[in-house]
Point group: C2
Chain length 268, copies 2
């Protein structure tokens, strides 16, 4: 990335390796250039232990300047000390929990602005599980796993919007979430669906992202859909959707979010 | 169906409703025209109880002429009494268990011929779970559920081939099997992947099928795939496959297996 461009966005599907090769955490550590990483545990109601786990995992990768950011309610987001923390950091990592806690606590606060500023000046914005979902324009906040997708079961909410026009789902293969991601993109095909498996991440640099980690990233694109029953059918009805384009990507694969096409790493 | 044409093939994704509305079993019962239904429990190593469960479930639908067919090993398939049973039936229903038991016991035996003859003279061939998989040209006989699909994990075998050019997977949403179905069609895009959820079935009449039941049927079609790493990558590598066409279908939807396109019920 050049000096004036946005920093990388790293969205992880949850359960990233913390004691082995740590390919994903290493990708984050390398992008800090020795700067401070904030571990934002705001997604969790009981964040005890989260920070220590990451402190140990990152320390072995040479990233030792870590500090925890937690807010119990929106009032605390006005504390200038919190904002200064982000202003002085090289990156922020949102841990797992509930994506709705992240956006309902931080949305439209000085801390959200500080996160955007960090991104704009080239800082790393990373997140795992709920912290991955929160980065997208639209978040899934409910919807059943591992069963036929019924139209009334899905709940979405606006995310931080750092990655525009996408919806990110996590623990994707492990929790059988293709149905709910199809349901999400059926609502509005403008939104591209990105399902990230555990210990797998996308590293977004500008319009492109690269896949890292041990699992797959599944893209569902409803642009060419010829028919769906999302608007006609009753809530208990199972989704019909015809002509979805699907891509399964694995480590090393790249994808262009503007053209919505996979691209080989050598292509410009 | 006309008198000279093949009978319907009914492939069920497992766990069909046996004590409520029984939409799928009803579809089978209706097509027997009062004739005998054979419950083939050959997929199971311990089929005790299977027959009684179906006997009760079908009795309430007016189908009372049921008889069990079980063979312990291939030798028994030469017993003329078994063949006569199929010759005199209006339909056969393969229960769940292991699809490999069905084809390894019946493949290239007089009983397999009798099943084909039954189909050819308009009889109903139905199967649930393993009994659905066995109907397709190619069967999945192993491959992990609910995790990133790794190239070396998949095992396939020839099925009965009653439904040509397809591979049927069952318990599809419930066991998170999109990854292994994508892996299967990546091997040879000639084969269309059909994933059937529990309590959901396809009713194949000639080149078309209709979806019945409470869940979804997911079609993955690799015809327009531009790239996959199935032949290049190592067994532990995660599958990459670009530009798969996916359809999610639900009750009432129809699909044309020859054109590989969903078609509305009113289209000819």
């Amino acid at each position: 990335m050049s000096e004036q461009s946005n920093g990388p966005l790293i969205a992880i599907g949850g359960h990233e390796d913390k004691d082995g090769e740590r390919r994903i955490l290493k990708a984050i550590a390398e992008r800090l250039n020795g700067g401070r990483l904030i571990i934002a545990t705001v997604a969790s109601h009981e964040p005890e232990g989260y920070f220590d786990a990451y402190k140990d995992a990152f320390a072995a990768l040479g990233a030792t300047d870590l500090i925890e950011l937690y807010v119990d309610d929106r009032d605390e987001t006005n504390d200038p000390a919190h904002k200064e923390l982000i202003d002085g950091a090289a990156g922020i990592f949102f841990t797992g929990g509930d994506q709705l806690r992240i956006v309902s606590q931080l949305g439209d606060t000085p801390l959200e602005s500080a996160v955007r500023d960090l991104h704009a000046r080239g800082g790393v914005i990373a997140g795992t599980s709920a912290g991955a979902s929160a980065q997208s324009e639209t978040m899934l906040i409910g919807g059943s796993d591992g069963e036929s997708y019924r139209i009334g079961e899905l709940h979405m909410a606006p995310g931080l919007g750092l990655i525009p026009s996408v919806i990110i789902d996590q623990h994707f293969a492990e929790r059988g979430r293709i149905g709910r991601l199809l349901g999400a993109v059926a609502h509005n095909p403008r939104i591209l669906g990105i399902g990230i498996d555990e210990d797998t991440a996308i590293v977004v640099d500008g319009e492109r992202f690269k896949v890292i980690g041990s699992g797959a990233v599944t893209i569902v694109d409803a642009e060419h859909v010829t028919r769906s029953n999302i608007a006609e059918a009753k809530p208990q009805r199972v989704l019909s959707i015809h002509n979805v384009t699907l891509h399964a990507l694995s480590a090393g694969d790249e994808f262009n979010l503007a053209t919505r096409k996979p691209c080989s790493p050598s292509e410009s």
